[in-house]
């Protein structure tokens, strides 16, 4: 049957409408709770559910600076080891997400469970910090703060970088 005829047949489009209508209806019913939460402002910063990842929050540059100066938090760099070697936030621990994905879980031994963790990656649209935070949440870590501005925002404001004497968490 020629495509042109299929596309001009009323029955074809009636079927398409039924498929779309049913899909929208099912989606609205099943996701009613999720839609309500989205409309209330949840998931606006990121698609992370507090039910699944309790204790995971996003922090701004100012909050990150405060945490760094206070020395209370441990900073985790989720970028590749080569990026970390080129430069990182002073005192940060390198836990590349790619290593974790490869099954190198011994890296987790370096991360204390009783202190706030600030996790960062390159910045912009980078995802590794959030993915690492979710993984750590699944491992039982409960104070996870993702610094979404990342390395780009940190260096952009002239904050100290690796090699500085001042180290947080000491």
């Amino acid at each position: 049957m020629p495509l042109k005829r299929i596309l001009t047949e009323r029955e074809t489009w009636r079927g398409v409408l039924v498929i779309l209508g049913l899909s929208f209806m099912l989606s609205a019913v099943v996701n009613f709770g999720l839609i309500k939460r989205f409309m209330a402002g949840e998931f606006r910063q990121a698609f992370v559910s507090p039910d699944r990842h309790p204790g995971l929050v996003f922090v701004s540059l100012a909050e990150t600076e405060d945490l760094w100066h206070s020395g209370l938090a441990v900073f985790i760099d989720s970028r590749a080891a080569a990026d970390f070697a080129r430069g990182h936030i002073p005192g940060a621990i390198s836990v590349p997400l790619e290593e974790i994905k490869r099954g190198n879980l011994s890296l987790l031994e370096k991360i204390p469970r009783d202190r706030p963790l600030v996790i960062y990656c390159e910045g912009g649209d980078c995802q590794t910090s959030l993915l690492l935070a979710e993984f750590l949440s699944e491992q039982g870590y409960r104070d996870l703060r993702v610094f979404s501005g990342g390395w780009t925002e940190w260096t952009g404001t002239g904050m100290p970088v690796s090699g500085e004497d001042e180290k947080p968490g000491k």
């Binding site: 049957m1 299929i6 029955e11 989606s27 099943v30 839609i35 698609f47």
Partner: protein
């Protein structure tokens, strides 16, 4: 070739395979809508709100179209929806590669792979199968027969 494409058992098998892969793809995404929403957003074409609504509706369209295709309920329309989605996916991945964006496709939830040239090839194979179903005059094993049999 024409006989092969008109063979009712082959057409039924194609319906099961294409419908089945759409159902599988849909179920993996329906299981974790927020994770799929992030995949959608990573394509950097739409913002947070549109990513969210795409992520909660698209898998249901895949599911309903897949089930309809196998059951033979509006067979022509479901083949059209499946073909349309595949054309959209191929265009999306092409544009993403041209823009140099490195993303996982989000096609099968956690089991997704990178959006690359191989994915375009895979989707094209699915599209050919879906187009055979769309254009074939076959009308067997369908719950809702086509109004005009060729």
């Amino acid at each position: 070739m024409k006989n092969l494409v008109n063979n009712k058992l082959i057409l039924l098998l194609l319906r099961i395979v294409v419908g089945g892969i759409f159902i599988l793809a849909a179920v993996t995404k329906i299981a974790d809508p927020l994770s799929f929403a992030r995949d959608v957003k990573n394509y950097r074409l739409v913002g947070q709100t549109l990513s969210f609504f795409t992520a909660i509706t698209l898998p249901w369209i895949e599911l309903v179209a897949g089930v309809f295709l196998i059951a033979g309920f509006f067979p022509r329309s479901s083949a059209l929806v499946v073909s349309g989605l595949l054309v959209f996916f191929i265009l999306l991945v092409t544009v993403t590669i041209i823009r140099g964006i490195d993303v996982t496709c989000g096609c099968f939830g956690t089991f997704s792979r990178k959006a690359d040239l191989w994915l375009i090839f895979e989707d094209t194979v699915w599209l050919v199968m879906a187009m055979v179903l769309l254009l074939s005059p076959g009308n067997d094993f369908c719950l809702l027969k086509r109004s005009r049999k060729q």
